[in-house]
């Protein structure tokens, strides 16, 4: 006589012992076979940047308190070693930030 087998229990056991398959090689081979994404058009990219820049300049010019800022500008200043060091330090930080942002892929 055939003994009845507990199919649900059997699948339960299988589920508990399901291995986590290492996906490094598999993922690499999938990624190699994906179609290349279209390169961004340099022309449309530049156009957008110029347009956004022009818009930004226009808006800033209309609301920027130019005369007040000009009045706040010092008419003379003294170049001290501390000031020079601060300017150099700031330049280094800005250069490092620019380099980092150009080398980083922000596409997730």
């Amino acid at each position: 006589m055939n003994e009845k087998i507990d199919i649900d229990g059997l699948f339960g056991q299988i589920r508990e012992t399901e291995p986590q398959l290492d996906g490094r090689i598999f993922t690499q081979s999938v990624m190699r076979r994906l179609p290349e994404s279209k390169p961004k058009s340099f022309f449309s990219d530049s156009q957008l940047t110029v347009l956004a820049g022009a818009l930004g300049c226009g808006l800033s010019f209309s609301v920027f308190p130019m005369t007040d800022v000009l009045n706040m500008m010092p008419t003379q200043f003294t170049l001290t070693p501390a000031l020079l060091a601060s300017v150099l330090g700031m330049s280094c930080v800005l250069a490092a930030l620019a380099y980092w942002s150009s080398e980083t892929d922000f596409n997730l």
Partner: protein
């Protein structure tokens, strides 16, 4: 750092065809999908991985078609199931060594236990539709509705496939068990 949600990754793939975002999705779902395919191909790891690869490539190409109404995993399983059925048809027409009576075609690894191997062999005796329905219901514990969505079947047909599959598997394993005892 918290992991990005499927939705965010999918949006990134749709917007910029980001390979990095898609790689995260592949890493997230590859293990479950490959294991499921191993189960329904009777433990044929090479075939299962081939179908899994094709599934992810097809998913990448048609990700704009994913409407977010079902889970991303369900959508992947639907693609995988269609590819599996297509492969099964081609194999049957060409009479390739892949099929119901060719368990020796399988490639096994030490990751597989005896129980997994025996069940995979017994599953080969079932028609592909019943095999998939049974796997999704009993192993992945999906609801009948989810199974219908994945397999694009009416509810009644899905339930029948599960019940018939269970019965057939029961008979198959009983024969195997009594054979092993005698």
């Amino acid at each position: 750092m918290s992991e990005l949600s499927d939705q965010m990754l999918i949006q990134s793939v749709v917007a910029s065809k980001s390979h990095n975002a898609f790689a995260s999705l592949v890493k997230r779902y590859q293990s479950g999908l490959r294991y499921s395919l191993r189960q329904i191909t009777g433990g044929d790891e090479m075939l299962a991985d081939d179908i899994a690869q094709e599934t992810f490539i097809k998913a990448f190409k048609s990700i704009t078609m994913f409407n977010g109404q079902s889970k991303f995993s369900s959508w992947l399983y639907r693609i995988a199931y269609n590819l599996f059925i297509s492969h099964h048809r081609v194999a049957r027409n060409r009479e390739l060594p892949y099929g119901d009576d060719q368990p020796e075609h399988r490639v096994t690894t030490s990751e597989e236990t005896d129980l997994q191997r025996d069940l995979a062999r017994a599953m080969l005796k079932l028609p592909p539709q019943q095999r998939m329905a049974l796997h999704l219901h009993l192993h992945k514990q999906l609801t009948h509705q989810e199974i219908c969505t994945i397999m694009e079947l009416p509810l009644g047909t899905a339930k029948t496939a599960i019940n018939r599959g269970k019965k057939l598997l029961q008979e198959e394993l009983s024969i195997w068990k009594s054979g092993a005892i005698s």
